[in-house]
Symmetry: C2
Subunit: 197 residues, 2 copies
DNA sequence: TTCTGCGGAATGAACATTCATTCCGCTACA
DNA sequence: TGTAGCGGAATGAATGTTCATTCCGCAGAA
């Protein structure tokens, strides 16, 4: 299932896709970057769409692995959240191409049901863990964890995206502030239902 | 500068790009959708890249117009923020294709310096207004407004993106909660610098 | 020698762009 | 008022290019 050439192809494809989008890269370019012949790609993948899906799933699985490594069940909710944030940041910094690729959306027209299912599973795991964290913390917030996860995730992604776009230079302090504000979103009660819509 | 045919082309291109990405649409398809001949597109736009940029700038300008219409200088900071949030939501709901297109990133390889400049200008305006809002509100937060704007913007976008992806159904209450949490991010002091990095 | 895996030129479909031609609305003359 | 002539807008089939995919011959292992 995993051979040196196959891995080289997936890595090269990830690099090229992250830099130019899946539509911006020709298969022979990927082959050249991977150091294999064009035809070799079709020995391992049925077609370009299949390759895109394999790359997508590989990066999703990597993210999932990184997010949950070295968890400490005895830590306080806040400590566990900080650790989660640190792992997320670590992923973005140590696997920048993975992170960029996953945040792109031009691959979504090509994603199969299987890929979407994997994406959903990983999201559900996050929501379940966040939900446990919040009830253990005893938050009074009525906001559903699915919503809170979307908000926190979006914040994180946009912060790094703004930096990449050159709109912003993110300092360590900014990151700490973002983390704290994210924690507030998890735990704070809001006024929904009180304030009129 | 603005003719019926030109407008038809831009609208058709927006619709097609929002649905399939800029790389997923052929120029003759846009022509057919706009009800004009293929060649006509090239009477109004130098090439596909130029068309993409015109569409991008038109949507950015529309967003900018919507964001700042009917502002009430006498309102409290909180009221002004709520109004801003409502206008943002209104834009996303009334111009869903615009919103989707702007949040795509597969057009960014095609964007010219002029387009990027316009994008930056619009962002700078938001940051400036948010900054004024926060100092008028008298927040004790040390976090820079650029950072807070990125966080709030990312939250909003991700919330709607999650709904579109089918991960979530966003209720009126969810939206109100998101708005309140966003307001908290603008005004609350965080622990950055106190908590160790 | 046979067989397996590989390379990269070859192929044909799809694409962006062009350009010879048509079409349309206006002007001016009868 | 009717109509012939003109200029530029519009057209879409044709063009050259690029791409995903195939195919065939080669190299090395058995």
């Amino acid at each position: 299932m995993s051979t040196p050439k196959r891995d080289a192809i997936v890595n090269a494809a990830l690099e090229a896709f992250a830099d130019h989008g899946v539509g911006g890269v020709a298969v022979p370019q990927i082959a050249a970057l991977a150091g294999v012949g064009t035809g070799t790609i079709y020995r391992y993948f049925a077609n370009k769409e299949d390759l895109i899906n394999e790359v997508f799933r590989a990066q999703k699985r990597l993210l999932d692995r990184v997010l949950w490594e070295e968890r400490d069940a005895d830590a306080t909710p806040r400590e566990r959240f900080d650790a989660f944030w640190a792992r997320l940041l670590g992923f973005a910094q140590e696997h920048p191409r993975s992170f960029r690729f996953l945040e792109m959306q031009d691959h979504s027209p090509y994603l199969t049901a299987e890929s979407r299912e994997l994406e959903k599973e990983i999201l559900v795991t996050i929501v379940r863990r966040v939900d446990a964290l919040r009830s253990e913390q005893g938050t009074t917030s009525q906001t559903r964890s699915e919503v809170v996860v979307a908000l926190v995730w979006g914040s994180f992604v946009q912060l790094l995206k703004s930096e990449r776009a050159g709109h912003l230079t993110v300092s360590e302090q900014d990151l700490a502030a973002a983390r704290d504000l994210a924690w507030n979103m998890l735990t704070e009660s809001d006024n929904a239902g009180v304030t009129k819509l």
